[in-house]
């Protein structure tokens, strides 16, 4: 990664953050604030998954486990201890990293479909623990009673605007860090593993170490998303850790695009907006979402952002360059 691109990324992130923070002063829309808070959670979750899917070629079906783990660890620490919000979030991330290390150690040596299924099995195991360990997790009822939303660096998270601001900052900084990972030598190594694993090993790279590092990093950022989700619903519920949530992240990645860094963010934004819009008009939301999936997979065959960046690139380089590909 050159310092030039790093500076450009930071500038883009700062501009995006400035716009996000300015919006509530220009337009009064609590629904928009809620939407961005949810995008913050979902985009960190989906982008971290894409570090595995698009960045390393590891299709994880159980990434939602970390989303749920972040939510539960954070909510439990907030409910049962008196530690500050930042400390609870920090501890939750450490817990997720440790769990990621243990789960990753089992999973990353497996390939393709076996990796996908073992990650799914791990998530279902985690979900079963949540359901069964009632005294700690509340079982299927979830963690009731709300999360005491203590003040964080002067931000009172009981206020929607403050929660929005914190979520926006966490999202932008989180995505910037993930961008940094994917542009770093580690990111390049992961892409090399994705494209040709034996050759990468032949070059002297310890493949399992690189994969495990990616798995842990992805787990930590997914649980950061889970923490935001827990703050939004003021609790933690088994649905945040069940397999459909992993499916949502996979769909966000596919919808937005695997080969563009911001693809999963775009996918998450479209998916959430689509879900909200469809729910407003009909109870047959499953059918509508199914049709959209069909349209994207059969019609576009790539993520929305992949198609757009490709079109832009073609326009810039002229039709000849595009046709030559």
């Amino acid at each position: 990664m050159t310092s030039g691109t790093a500076m450009r990324d930071i500038a883009v992130a700062a501009a995006a953050l400035a716009i996000l923070i300015a919006v509530p002063f220009l337009v009064h829309s609590p629904a928009f604030l809620d939407y961005i808070i949810r995008i913050a959670a979902m985009s960190l979750f989906a982008t971290s998954l894409n570090l595995l899917v698009g960045g390393t070629g590891l299709v994880s079906f159980g990434h939602g486990m970390f989303y749920g783990l972040g939510a539960y660890a954070f909510a439990l620490l907030m409910q049962r201890t008196q530690i500050s919000l930042a400390a609870a979030a920090g501890c939750s991330l450490v817990i997720s990293a440790l769990v990621g290390l243990a789960v990753g150690a089992v999973c990353i040596r497996l390939r393709a479909i076996y990796f996908a299924f073992v990650t799914l099995a791990m998530q279902m195991l985690f979900y079963s623990i949540i359901i069964t360990w009632q005294s700690l997790t509340g079982g299927d009822q979830g963690l009731q009673g709300g999360i005491p939303r203590r003040v964080l660096f002067g931000f009172d998270l009981n206020s929607q605007f403050h929660l929005y601001t914190v979520s926006a900052v966490v999202m932008v900084v989180g995505l910037l860090l993930l961008r940094h990972v994917s542009a770093s030598p580690l990111g390049a190594t992961l892409r090399m593993i994705r494209d040709n694993e034996p050759r990468t090993a032949f070059l002297g790279v310890t493949v399992w170490r690189a994969k495990l590092t990616a798995f842990v990093i992805a787990g930590v950022f997914a649980s950061l998303g889970g923490i935001l989700a827990a703050l939004f619903v003021s609790g933690a519920y088994p649905e945040l850790a069940n397999w459909p949530i992993s499916g949502q992240a996979i769909f966000a990645v596919m919808l937005g695009g695997v080969s563009t860094f911001l693809g999963p963010l775009a996918g998450a934004a479209i998916l959430l907006a689509l879900g909200d819009a469809v729910t407003r008009f009909t109870e047959y939301n499953g059918m509508v979402l199914g049709l959209v999936i069909l349209f994207v997979t059969l019609g576009l065959r790539r993520g929305v952002l992949d198609v757009l960046t490709e079109a832009l690139r073609r326009r810039r380089t002229g039709p000849a360059a595009g046709a030559a590909e």
Partner: protein, 420 residues
């Protein structure tokens, strides 16, 4: 890029613009969100899709009937009701989002929360943040209102609840067991929090009334299990005299259908508080006579002309039977109507004050009256037990629960749980 590609791109533009406009609707909806003058918007998050869509549809039906009646009589505090129903798919995080949207974007001033279990707790937390009036019409988990830590100043529960059913069920089962000299019992309940907690609670009260009971086996089938053979054989082999079960809805009808094949009911009596609801009673292929059944909703209990008339009106209008959720939702509207009349305004604080301790005439109450008690939960609703019969009215010989005894034991239970 070829010419064909260009054409496709050009056609895509209006499509994309249309899609973007549709997706942006929630953010611009604010402008139309506030209710038309003279009306009040009431939001109802519920489950309209999936396996328990009936939970939502049977409440929406009840709401429609009540709103029509209230609007014809002048509305709530002079304002006509406009109902906004939204599907949460039963997911707590979606329920929380939907309620925020209903209040913040659609401008709903009251929330009729028709969410089940964990989603109701998620809604409760949103209400704590937003401070609007909310009446929960499905959640039967006692802690929602019994635990002072969970209570919210503007949130109420208008639904039956676990501890009430356990007390009445325990008392009734003990009476029958005494008369029949049944001491060997088994249990068979779904393997998750509700099944375990409520079975334990029922057994506590049952043993309070009849200490010489012996529980010889306990089966915990998985929720939504298609095959109960293993459970049924286990129960038959244990040879209990009676079985207590908390299976409900589809699981309960599937269990009875399969248990019929093994002649389970000729070997033991069965007690299930969730039996007495028409969707279950009518789903069983050949309903055995004599299953001891709690009354969730029945047209013949409470035996009041107003209840029978309401049930019949519902059936005629929607061509299906009402459910337990229907009467609960209906009662919530009646309470809101009376509270609005008392408060003279729909302000959440004034409405909450008016609702607290409010007693109204209601077709589903003991003696035609129900009360929203000081701890924000419904009491004096009809709760009883009877025996099934294969044809309408499906449940007969119904004995009403004793609310005096119920209050005493409930108070003791609250103390034991450190709620008071």
């Amino acid at each position: 890029m070829t010419k064909t590609d260009q054409r496709i791109t050009l056609r895509r533009r209006p499509l994309l613009a249309g899609a973007a406009a549709a997706l942006a609707t929630p953010f611009v909806a604010r402008a139309q969100g506030t209710a038309k003058s003279g009306t009040v918007k009431v939001g109802m998050p519920t489950i309209l899709s999936g396996a328990i869509a009936l939970l939502g549809t049977s409440q929406r039906n009840a709401a429609e009937m009540e709103i029509e009646r209230i609007n014809a009589a002048g509305g709530l505090a002079g304002r006509k009701i406009e109902l906004v129903v939204r599907d949460s798919k039963g997911q707590p995080q979606e329920a929380a989002r939907v309620v925020r949207e209903l209040v913040n974007t659609d401008g709903c001033e009251i929330i009729m929360d028709a969410e089940a279990s964990s989603a109701a707790f998620a809604v409760q937390e949103v209400i704590r943040d937003l401070g609007v009036l909310c009446i929960h019409t499905s959640s039967e988990t006692s802690s929602l209102t019994a635990d002072p830590k969970l209570r919210v100043a503007t949130a109420f529960r208008c639904a039956r609840q676990g501890v009430h059913d356990s007390i009445v069920g325990g008392s009734y089962a003990a009476k029958v067991a005494d008369a029949k000299k049944w001491t060997k019992w088994a249990t068979c309940s779904p393997d998750y929090a509700y099944g375990h907690d409520t079975t334990t609670q029922f057994l506590d009260f049952f043993k309070h009334f009849k200490p010489d009971v012996e529980i010889i086996t306990q089966a915990w089938p998985k929720l939504g299990a298609p095959d109960f053979t293993e459970v049924i054989t286990k129960l038959i082999q244990a040879k209990p005299q009676a079985l207590f079960s908390l299976l409900y809805a589809g699981d309960l009808s599937a269990f009875i259908n399969q248990a019929n094949v093994y002649a389970l009911f000729s070997n033991m009596a069965m007690f299930d508080p969730n039996m007495g609801d028409y969707p279950v009673l009518t789903a069983v292929k050949s309903l055995p006579a004599g299953i001891y059944s709690g009354t969730r909703y029945l047209e013949n209990f409470p035996d009041l002309p107003a209840n029978a008339a309401w049930g019949e009106a519902y059936r005629k209008r929607f061509n299906q039977f009402p459910t337990n959720w229907s009467w609960q939702n209906s009662t919530a509207w009646m309470l809101a109507e009376a509270a609005a009349k008392k408060a003279g305004s729909l302000d959440a604080k004034k409405m909450s004050e008016a609702l607290t301790g409010l007693t109204i005439d209601c077709p589903f109450g003991v003696g035609g009256k129900v009360t929203m008690r000081d701890d924000h939960t419904l009491v004096n609703y009809a709760v009883g037990w009877g025996r099934t019969t294969p044809k309408m009215p499906y449940v007969i010989d119904i004995e009403a629960g004793d609310w005096k005894q119920l209050y005493e034991l409930e108070a003791a239970w609250k103390k034991q749980m450190n709620y008071t």
